[in-house]
Symmetry: C2
């Protein structure tokens, strides 16, 4: 520890004997925990493999060319410029040893007095490696850009493809999973195709494009009231999205989805939005895990037997939502658990008893294209235009940073009035594959 | 050719017997050629390996976290929505056989009646492969993002580095080449460091940061009048950029620049902005090439002996600028040659004689940080704030697309008033390398 002073110059407060709180992950949970610890009598160290906080509820708009990736990401260091007790380190946490309070990272190992684990979620392929390889995820900025590139490239390839069957297969997009991510993504993709790409590719028959939402259960948006499930489905179908219910997926092979009942769906692009699990870091803790590898915690949000280790957000499994279910893996739970875990640490430092988590449920919402959303909050169930305005307002409010709000609003206004998607760029040095047989010259 | 009708549905005009003009490259030259051919009695086919037109004069702002990459790129297909005689294909042109009028691409081969070659430029390393490997270029969006990631990652690494010498080397950035690109990049980097990163990294002594502009000649901005060279240099030095003149570079090894006089400069990040050449496509033509592999053309902008093949912009070498020099590799020359080559094709189709290229010189400009630029136009030489407003106005004017103008203006206003750079994101799954020796735990 002695050499540490080397890199700390006079502008930075000297390391003190204050307790060190390490926060793993700067998503909704970690960020709000750090905000509540800023200016308090603790040293906070945030760790993340990215140097930014990502606003993942808008990822699907990045994937469908409506927003720049940069507009939904905000540099962590900028958020804590004025908080001298909050530091950040860009590193990937590999494992945690609870007994010795040691964190192994891709950089130097670290120790903690208090730990808040908020590393979020990962795709759950239920042990099927083929799914992981053959489908596109939508969990971070790189995923969203890769999906955008793939979907736009599919149209570039179709535009020079002469075989009608191959052309149709190229223009078939399947989204597996009828939760909010799958619903919002397929709706936004339908808009991109029918408002924008139809003008970009006059040589293609846009009626050949298929967007298929594949759901294993008998309904989409399972967490919503039945009336909103129905209106969401009707809205999607009016936008030419094929909603395929009772269709549990067995596996995905090259350009082919195999359903459990033996039928198949041809699709060149398959998105996996059907399962999430805790970040793999949970597996290194050697503690009891619940469904989706989520970490079982006490009502006070810490590990049983480890009052110094809090686990929050998507990583955590805590029953008590609506009396009995586990709290869902959504932003609002992470935000409130982030604040609560920070406050419980401060309570403990003051010698006060820690408090159980109490959730204020602001409701759920999903947007489905222009001027349409479904919203379920405070006993009110709304669909259509008013729900859409509510959705807009909430999302702008929770975006971090004035610049990001401005850029997102500018894009939304532009997209809304022009029926355009300015970000339909294929980046990263891809080229379409073409039939290059000698007879195919023009 | 018979199978071609397959993919053309009724919404798209049937292929006619009109002459086909193929344009290679959708930069300033190719884009303006296509615009002048839109609606005329020709079939235009544009080819580019990217699906967007890039506004490269602002690349340095992408590299220094001032703008999103997407804000300076515009989808080509969107530009020609209403021009039914202009088509686009995303493909990379590999070679051209002038005798058979055949274009080899990564997709299908193509033929042309008229050809406009506007493939732009590439970095010129003068045969030194080490330079190509050891330095960062700044020629396209991927280059700019890679440079942004590298520079920001250098600060992340420095923030955990305990060895003071290694830390200083990590925070040393060298830009080789004192032309407009090198001057604008080093100025923007100095602003990023001294306005923004100084707040992000309170544990670093920002006085350790070195930004070195390395120029072989005895002056920067060789194309500008002497008074502006001097004020640009003074401005850079006031921003703590070290301007290193009379320092021709021999080669670059790991984190080290070797100068021809035997001295060395330690720098973890080295940018190459000292030499450009024609796009490599020029080498496949088997025609006479001038300095920088640029293609010698007639005053009418076509290849000698090939009145059907026009070469324009950075690829072309034509003397006559200011009476004797070759036209410089700048946007304005490409724009005007693009229009002129298109008009010469139309003249030939009407049976009229083609005309020699006449250049209207709107002058040159370069910006050096906040409220400062140098401008030389119409006999007027300006530096400082007025030149900067001129620079702003011209660049917004030439950006393609209303959305991009809005987004760039929003960013500029935000950066100007907040002294921030919102896009300082490290994307693409990099992680800092850290000293992970066993003794280095905390």
């Amino acid at each position: 520890m002695g050499s540490r002073g080397n890199i700390i110059n006079s502008k930075f407060p000297k390391e003190t004997s204050r307790p060190r709180v390490v926060i793993v992950g700067v998503g909704f949970g970690g960020l709000n925990a750090a905000r509540n610890l800023a200016g308090q009598d603790v040293d906070v160290l945030m760790l993340d493999k990215n140097n930014y906080h990502g606003f993942w509820p808008l990822l699907y708009q990045v994937a469908t060319a409506g927003l720049e990736p940069e507009s939904i990401a905000y540099p962590v260091r900028a958020i804590f410029h004025s908080s001298r007790n909050v530091r950040f380190r860009m590193t990937e946490v590999q494992s945690i040893d609870l007994a010795t309070r040691k964190i192994t990272t891709t950089g130097r190992p670290l120790t903690y007095d208090y730990l808040i684990l908020a590393a979020g979620s990962a795709n759950n392929y239920f042990g099927n490696d083929a799914l992981a390889k053959q489908t596109f995820g939508l969990k971070d900025i790189e995923d969203a850009e890769r999906l955008r590139n793939k979907m736009l490239l599919a149209f570039e390839q179709a535009s020079t493809e002469r075989d009608p069957d191959r052309r149709k297969a190229m223009m078939t997009f399947a989204v597996i999973g009828g939760g909010p991510t799958g619903v919002e993504l397929s709706g936004a993709l339908a808009e991109l195709v029918h408002h924008v790409l139809v003008k970009d590719y006059p040589m293609l028959d846009i009626a050949d494009v298929r967007i298929i939402l594949v759901e294993g259960a008998d309904r989409i948006l399972a967490a919503f009231p039945e009336s909103l499930q129905k209106s969401a489905r009707e809205k999607l179908e009016s936008m030419k999205v094929e909603v395929c219910l009772n269709a549990p997926v067995d596996t995905v092979e090259d350009d082919l989805i195999l359903l459990k009942d033996g039928t198949t769906i041809d699709a060149s692009t398959v998105v996996w939005a059907a399962g999430v699990r805790s970040a793999p870091l949970a597996d290194t803790l050697n503690v009891e895990l619940a469904r989706g590898s989520r970490v079982k915690i006490t009502p006070e949000l810490h590990l049983p037997g480890h009052p110094e280790v809090f686990v929050i957000g998507d990583m955590a499994y805590l029953e008590g939502y609506k009396g009995k279910e586990a709290y869902p893996m959504v932003a609002q739970v992470a935000i409130q658990q982030g604040k609560h875990s920070a406050n419980n640490i401060l309570r403990r430092l003051r010698g006060e008893p820690v408090q159980p988590f109490k959730y204020f449920d602001p409701g759920t919402m999903a947007t489905i294209g222009r001027r349409s959303a479904v919203l379920d909050a405070f006993g009110v169930q709304l669909s259509g235009r008013l729900a859409w305005f509510g959705w807009l307002f909430i999302h702008i409010m929770y975006l971090v940073g004035f610049r990001n709000r401005l850029i997102v609003l500018t894009n939304w206004a532009f997209n809304y009035f022009s029926y355009e998607r300015g970000v339909r760029l294929i980046t990263g040095r891809y080229l379409p594959e073409e039939d290059v047989s000698p007879a195919s010259g023009e």
